[in-house]
Symmetry: C2
């Protein structure tokens, strides 16, 4: 790519150590499968028959299994794609909102991600080895995304400086876990509470009292 070629026409991405460019149809089908899986998982849960995913993507099950040898591979692919999207949203928000607001908006976005991933989270903690790498992926992508926003907010004086990005991610994820009550707004309220405590004006030596 971009490198001239004449004779390097077949060189593709060899130099970079990447795999050869996949065939166009293969790439198209792979994208269609992930897209279809995301859509179907959202409406019918991750336990939906793979045939439905294949059908929605307009491919045969053989093709599906070629790209995703295990059902879990498909789930992982969708999860990673959504993590990527969530992380990417941070960069965009950083250019659209003032620093302090960007953090809050992104956390709402992140909360939505967590909420819709409840079904995946179930699979995730099922002990299946296939998902062992996801937590690292989660952290590797989302922590820098949030840190970037936090840094900007802190530099702008809009937010306390003693906040660890990863702690905040975990805290929000845990807070949004619906305990034995089923209020869908609970997570949001808890997070707002947390945010109130993070704003610069508040007493940094003491977490906000809970509102019980």
């Amino acid at each position: 790519m971009t490198t001239d070629m004449g004779d390097m026409a077949k060189d593709k991405a060899d130099r970079t150590g990447e795999e050869k460019r996949p065939r166009a149809d293969a790439q198209r089908n792979l994208d269609a499968l992930v897209q279809a899986a995301k859509s179907v998982f959202e409406t019918s849960g991750v336990d939906v028959p793979v045939r439905e995913v294949a059908e929605k993507a307009g491919v045969g099950v053989g093709t599906l299994y070629r790209h995703f040898p295990q059902r879990s591979d498909l789930i992982v692919a969708v999860y990673r794609k959504e993590v990527d999207a969530c992380a990417a949203a941070a960069a965009e928000l950083a250019t659209q909102s003032p620093p302090g607001e960007a953090v809050e908006r992104w956390l709402e976005r992140y909360l939505d991600f967590i909420a819709t991933k409840r079904g995946l989270a179930a699979a995730l903690h099922s002990g299946d080895k296939a998902y062992a790498g996801l937590p690292d992926y989660f952290r590797a992508h989302l922590e820098p995304a949030l840190r970037q926003l936090l840094d900007a907010a802190q530099a702008a004086g809009a937010m306390r400086a003693d906040i660890d990005a990863y702690d905040l991610l975990v805290a929000v994820a845990n807070l949004s876990a619906p305990g034995p009550h089923s209020d869908p707004q609970h997570g949001r309220r808890m997070m707002r509470l947390l945010l109130d405590g993070l704003r610069y004006g508040s007493d940094v030596s003491r977490p906000p009292p809970d509102d019980r």
Copy 2:
């Protein structure tokens, strides 16, 4: 029906509105199934084939389905039985340990329960209607159990008085949720931390700093 009948020998539990006593073999098989399910779920997860449960219980699958028409019914039965056992442990601990210690011991017991129920928790939050009643069952049985211990501890001056039993249950359950790190001792450490803050002598206005 159920009306008199010579002697009351067969009256059994009619008076209380309960169903007739089931046949002895039916009761035995039902117990065996729950016992087998508990055992098999612990070693192989809740997605284990029902045949295995039936086999371990020494009954046919037909019998299993007679007692538990849905797979979820079996899961629910195991869950409720364990909630009962956990709640019952409170009464026993209350007689065996001094009040303050009883609370701590019971919370450890409760934490074990939560930890082993991770697989169930996954199913629980899967949106399946079959589990809708479990949270209420959870609260109805465990909150009084803990409250009893807390009351005793507070009366003995061993613990702060401003603790809501249900909040504590939920907090411990959430704390023990393994975030994207997989340290099995994490939950216990977090709970210990929480307990330190609950003891009477500590500074009630500020939770203990986390030990990261």
